[in-house]
Amino acid sequence: MLNRLLRRQPASDATPPRQRLPLLSLVITIAVSIVVLMDVLLDTPLVNGVGGLFVTYAVIIASFALILGVIHLLRVHTRRVQQRANGWLYSLLLIVTVVFFTVVGLIEGPTRGMTQWSVTYLLLPLQSAFFSLLAFFLISVLYRSARIRSWESLLLVVTAALVVVGGTPLGATISPAIETAKEWVLSGIATAGARGIVLGVAVGTVITAFRFIADGRRIFK
């Protein structure tokens, strides 16, 4: 029995070898999922303790997975540099950056020295500049695409103008009714739509979790 659990499933002609999953791994995954789910639903010391332990294990495994991901990334880009593949200079830059900031971070820590300087004066300004380009693209799109061609487009344009202007002091300067209308649109119509989206995501998550517990092999395919 144990040998059968440890060994792979007998290969069938219809199932390629890569899709076979050891039975023991599947059993462990399903059991842990059920325990963690019960930890949320129940309030017993045993289930809460075991569930908390599993969550801690997940955090530790995720940390090692992050390290493995970085190692794999370095291997891939090192191979690209060795083979002088297309764009190998960028791969070399990535490798140098990773090694440099890893060493600096280990020596100085994540919130001091070079690490803090690079985030404050390199990373954040570059990300801000990149996102600020959206404003220029948006104005071009608004001129070309946001045109009144039908009653629906008229409603869209008016609502967009109302929400954008109402969220700024300019709306209150023009008329207090604009701010009131904006609040009504966001709290009434938009919130209803957001609730539907959140409910849909939650239901889908629950269904996916139960599908996995019921038939994990199909999920792994």
Binding site: L124, F131, L170, T191, A194, V198
Partner: protein
């Protein structure tokens, strides 16, 4: 079974040569006999009428369908070439063809590779051999492999007769110049000699797009630089007042957990709000502690930036724990093991919802405050309406009113207020351009 000494494959006992590598297995075994030569059939007595300049060439223009023919190679004869047409056999071509400048090869000799002797037919095509024994030389009494002996088994396809190549004629199937050039290009590309040029798609561009970009930049920059426009702040919203009220109710030695999970794209909107919140905490919990965590790798540095921007006495303890791995599992593990009086989440809607869900799953749940950008206000409003979030700062408008009403900052000291003015000008410009585009579109349609 006989094992081949060269490749090691087992062969039947009757085989003389290995079926895989051809090595002789039995040195004393006789070689298989080749097939007998087949005598050629009698040539056809009647030939079609040929023009004089083709006379002498024994071409089978219409070979008999039943008797397939394999051409044989013979050398041209040494007889002098006849350069003029034979007057004894005048034909339609005689008056039109001039042979004086033709190349020096025999016209009345057969074409290269074609035999003047009657073609040698072969026997019936050999049926495909099913058994293991290969077929040696059957049907190969003539042709290129005539007389060739050895271990090479003859595939049935070799003995299949084929017609001689037809005399080339101009047909519609022949490639045109365009198709030939395309085929040449393809051959070059396939051979790697030519790298094809990438096809560039001409995308439709907006005329005057640069003017729009310049307009946006000038409308925002000039009034701010010259301090021409200062918008009056509206009254704070209920969520902002609840935010400030929740922070004010903390004990003086309370502990606040701050989750900083945003990136540089929204840091201009969220960092002033976080800095203002930390400034208020300086005054509310002078003997307490603020613990900063993040589920993003550089969140610790972002939190440190906001802490540096905050103002206040150095009484409160600042502890930056940095990155926590595991995503949602890390959030759950942290909330389960932390004893905090308040949790403040500074992130976009996706991460805020995960923090809210993990906090709600605990019993009892911590009071939760949120600082989100304006784009996340819609997704956060259900949690705000249900009471899972006690208060929130959801835009630069809220940040500016929070700084002004709670902290008493004037415009020149309020970063949120200054950025709100810039955002207001940009929003007004965009709405104006949108309406202008609609008017232009209506005008064009009317014409």
């Amino acid at each position: 079974m006989i094992t081949c000494p060269s490749c090691g494959i087992d062969n039947p006992d009757s085989r003389v040569f290995c079926a895989v590598c051809g090595t002789r297995l039995q040195a004393d075994a006789p070689l298989p006999e080749l097939a007998q030569e087949v005598s050629p059939p009698e040539p056809a007595a009647k030939k079609p009428a040929l023009p004089s300049w083709l006379q002498g060439a024994d071409l089978e223009l219409d070979p008999p369908p039943i008797a397939p023919v394999i051409p044989t190679f013979t050398f041209p004869s040494s007889e002098p070439r006849r350069t003029t047409p034979d007057p004894a056999t005048p034909g339609d071509w005689d008056d039109k063809l001039d042979f004086s400048d033709l190349p020096d090869w025999e016209l009345d000799e057969p074409l290269s590779g074609m035999s003047s002797a009657p073609a040698t037919p072969i026997a019936e095509p050999v049926a495909p051999v099913v058994e293991d024994e290969p077929v040696y030389g059957e049907g190969e009494g003539s042709g290129l492999l005539s007389g060739v002996r050895g271990p090479i088994p003859i595939e049935p396809i070799v003995s299949i007769a084929h017609r001689p190549p037809a005399f080339p004629t101009i047909t519609e199937d022949m490639p045109t110049d365009e198709s030939q050039s395309a085929a040449n290009l393809f051959a070059q590309i396939a051979g790697g000699a030519v790298r094809p040029e990438p096809i560039t798609v001409q995308r439709p561009t907006l005329r005057g797009a640069g003017l729009l970009y310049l307009l946006l930049a000038l409308v925002v920059a000039i009034p701010l630089a010259l301090n021409l426009i200062v918008f009056d702040l509206p009254a704070p919203r209920a969520s902002v007042e609840a935010f400030a009220r929740t922070v004010n109710t903390l004990p003086s030695d309370g502990t606040v957990l701050v989750a900083v999970d945003y990136d540089g794209g929204v840091q201009d909107e969220l960092t002033p709000a976080l800095a203002a919140t930390l400034t208020q905490l300086h005054g509310v919990i002078p003997e307490g502690a603020i613990v900063a965590v993040s589920t993003s790798p550089f969140g610790a540095a972002v939190a440190e930036t906001a802490w540096t921007s905050s103002q206040g006495d150095a009484g409160v303890t600042w502890e930056n724990r940095g990155f926590i791995s595991g995503g949602i599992s890390g959030q759950r593990a942290l909330l389960a093991s932390t004893a905090a009086d308040l949790v403040i989440v500074v992130a976009e809607s996706g991460k805020v919802t995960s923090w809210v869900e993990q906090d709600t799953a605990l019993a009892p749940a911590y009071p939760l405050l949120a600082i989100v950008p304006a784009t996340s206000e819609t997704m956060l409003s259900p949690y705000l309406a249900s009471g899972q979030i006690s208060g929130a700062l959801m835009s630069l408008n809220d940040t500016a009113t929070y700084e002004s009403n709670t902290l008493g900052l004037r415009r020149r000291d309020s970063i949120g207020w200054q950025r709100l003015d810039a955002a207001t000008l940009a929003a007004a410009t965009m709405v104006g351009v949108m309406l202008l585009g609609s008017v232009v579109g209506l005008f064009k349609r009317g014409r």
